[in-house]
Symmetry: C2
């Protein structure tokens, strides 16, 4: 694939507005007849009449899920999870499908040094970078068939709708499949969009070793499956005008409020810590409460208190890992280590919550009373507490123009009920859109997933909801393209990347 695509690589020249410019891209439709649709000439009715094909979309999802079939959980053939680790043989097959499908739809495909695949459908004018749709085809080892896959297949469906309807966009539009988004095989998630945005060094990414027994690295596996491209993995080498990502919510909010579309305005900030509480092992039968330094009792208070602190700040606090020593029914644990994950839409909230946690955990360990947490307890001996910060991810705000395009698109797809059926949201989890948003206007579209379950074979989004999400994605991209065209006319300027 790499050799094929190296012939069709996108080349950009310097431009006063864009750092690089499309000029080597031959416009495939340059001789198209007048009856072709141009996005900039479409009225609302024409634009809204462009519809994704639900059956075709679902066929793409389920057809491509043959590569990396996971755990079966139901009797229907589609009731099977996915296990398509990045750069595996199964991933190669899904990638090959993506390249063939997009090339068949008139796209040029570029593969960069991270194996990211950019499929670009030319526009009427090519002096600006493409508006991209992106997500990923890799999955968790025990994942489902919607996380990432929906976003990529919806991009392909967008290309199909444009082709079927002879639509010509003002600027190119593209679909990108990002490599190793899950971080499940090579342990940095969103690593390839991170390299593209300049936030993760290529060498770090290339030398990532697979987590499972074996000696493969990300770059050795890229070579092995033929997806080590020569184009730099960089926003300079492969610029974008914008990045839209359709994704399943991976949480229960849309479902529990009977909404259909999440208009994602950003990604919340999060920080991860390891908290270590040190007390003293002692016999549960022979040591009274006064003489205990019970590390687990202190940790239990901290876990409960972190929930209260987060509630007070409108934030989240969660503990997913807890280990204790020595681990015997009749020995009070002298050592407990637990993870703490705090999140909030605003960095300032996370700052405040962190300060709360640091101060109050120390007080709880010391045996001081903190907001009644020790009411009714017997004061014991003090414990010690220490923190390690494992991860810091600042808040991301998506671009108002992209959010606006998604809002308009949802209105078009849902009609008069749109307000009731949509919800402005902040993504709780990270996505490739986090990194693209650092370089280009970005936003996301969420669709409900059953019971909020994700990273699990039972992950499920109904065909109707998949199609609705894809419809909003299509409409958002077209509206964004039209907006670019309008702004060019009005302001006589191009779109400022990252404005």
């Amino acid at each position: 694939m790499a050799s094929k695509t190296s012939e069709g690589e996108l080349m950009y020249a310097t431009d006063p507005i864009f750092s690089r410019r499309f000029d080597a891209l031959e416009r495939a439709f340059s001789s198209s007849p007048r009856w072709q649709l141009h996005t900039k000439e479409m009225n609302e009715e024409t634009l809204s009449s462009l519809k994704v094909n639900q059956s075709r979309l679902m066929e793409d999802i389920h057809f491509t899920s043959q590569w990396g079939e996971g755990q079966k959980w139901g009797s229907a053939s589609t009731e099977t999870g996915m296990s398509r680790l990045s750069l595996s043989d199964a991933d190669k097959k899904a990638r090959d499908w993506f390249v063939q499908a997009t090339q068949a739809l008139g796209c040029n495909t570029t593969i960069d040094e991270m194996g990211n695949i950019f499929a670009v459908r030319p526009g009427i004018r090519n002096d600006g970078p493409p508006t991209f749709v992106g997500s990923h085809l890799d999955t968790q080892p025990t994942g489902g068939r919607y996380d990432g896959i929906l976003g990529v297949t919806a991009g392909v469906e967008m290309l199909r709708v444009l082709a079927d309807n002879w639509v010509e966009t003002e600027y190119p539009v593209g679909v990108v499949n990002w490599t190793n988004e899950e971080g499940a095989r090579f342990p940095i998630s969103m690593v390839s969009s991170g390299v593209w945005s300049g936030h993760i060094p290529l060498s770090t990414a290339h030398s990532l070793r697979e987590v499972h027994p074996g000696t493969a690295t990300l770059s050795s596996e890229l070579s092995r499956i033929g997806y080590l491209g020569t184009v730099p993995a960089s926003h300079n080498a492969v610029p974008m005008a914008a990045h839209f990502e359709l994704h399943i919510e991976q949480g229960p909010l849309l479902e529990s409020t009977s909404r259909k579309i999440g208009i994602v305005k950003g990604v919340q900030a999060y920080r991860w810590y390891t908290v270590t509480v040190t007390g003293q092992d002692c016999h549960t039968g022979t040591t009274d409460f006064e003489n205990r330094a019970d590390a687990l009792l202190a940790a239990a208070k901290m876990i409960l208190h972190s929930h209260r602190l987060a509630t007070a700040r409108g934030a989240l606090a969660s503990t997913g890992i807890l280990n204790l020593k020595p681990g015997s029914t009749n020995t009070v644990p002298g050592s407990v280590r637990f993870s703490l994950d705090i999140r909030a839409p605003a960095d300032s909230t996370v700052d405040m919550l962190e300060a709360d946690v640091l101060a109050d955990f120390a007080r709880i360990a010391a045996g001081e009373e903190v907001d009644g947490i020790s009411d009714g307890c017997t004061p014991g001996r003090p414990c010690e507490v220490s923190f390690t910060t494992d991860s810091v991810s600042p808040a991301v705000k998506f671009h108002p123009d992209c959010i606006h395009a998604v809002t308009e698109a949802a209105g078009s797809a849902l009609g008069p009920e749109a307000e009731k059926l949509t919800m402005e949201m902040v993504s709780g989890a990270g996505h490739d859109s986090v990194y693209t948003s650092k370089r280009v206007p970005t936003s996301m579209i969420f669709v409900p997933c059953r019971d909020g379950i994700s990273h699990n074979p039972r992950e499920y989004t109904s065909p109707e909801d998949c199609a609705l999400g894809a419809q909003v994605l299509l409409q958002a991209v077209l509206r964004y393209d039209r907006m670019r065209a309008e702004r060019r006319l009005t302001w006589n300027t191009g779109w400022q990347v990252g404005a």
Copy 2:
């Protein structure tokens, strides 16, 4: 050893007062001169003048600790823990020493089917069973050199003091080394006193398989090291008049209150449970608090609440084991399993605490407010909770006569400061005295151990405290013997076993 001792086995015949009677025991001192001391003739001064030899006692402790040396923790030669698993080669050597030492002091030794070794020094009259001192020579795999060992060596030291001073007791006195008290190798603790008392079937005990890799059973190891006796392991075959046990406290109460002797009035009741909390795994970033069924948050509330409930009842509640699934920083745990150990001196308190726990844990799981535990929390989805009862150990009350003997003995050993330096206590942990108390008058003597640490190589009791405990033990046995003699004269009846 077994063959040697089978010749000298104790034989008992039926008697109206005792189910069996000493009559095959030849009194070794039958021709002793008149200047020998008879306990029943001793006044307080004479009795109190009998003193243990601290150096000799410590020499026995440290000499026998050569068999099964454990982890070194300090620079001194005695700053080494013990690893003398029951019926190991090291345990055999310690047993051999015990048999030889007691036989050299004029004792007859009996080994029963559980490998319990009963060393008996004849009295003036032998129509009543011996007053016994007992504990164990086996240790935890990472244990110290005082737990159990002090009790047995103090018994040997008692025999040495009696021999040195030509003391003749009214009734025989004995020292018993109970097999596998720790339950660390064959996983029932106090198993051999449990068989002796009729509470554990011999077949269950004999077929116990060692916990470490291997196929050895308790009976195969008894045979291998030559300690499978032929005398039934039964209070009928080897009766006792009483059982006194000197032990390190294994807790911090004596040390923290600057007391020297614990007068142990009983053993608290305890029950062990496994508590399973089931919620739902979900993503920490994408799931708001309202939509979580956070099993760890519920478990944290339960652990804290159990401490509050126990405080309110004057009882203990402890969690020593906690495991959760799936165990990932950004996944809210859907399943948590933890141990709960509740204890109190009275069974009725444990009953009430159990009822509290069962009711309140269910309410906490369901998300109901219980005594403000969820104040300031965001209500989430309910979890489920279930309980398994793993162990039930009712409260034990020791016998007033034995407690009285210990109190008097402590008074004699400590002088006018006795009241300040002693403490009436309830044992938090189980000991062989729990089972002997079900058949014969029993009590225990505790001495301080540094920082309350036990079941650890660093377990430590000062030589002075070891000797003081041994002195109280000696005095208690002599006083109990004198009391038996006096009662016989006064009431013209023997001692009623188990009265």
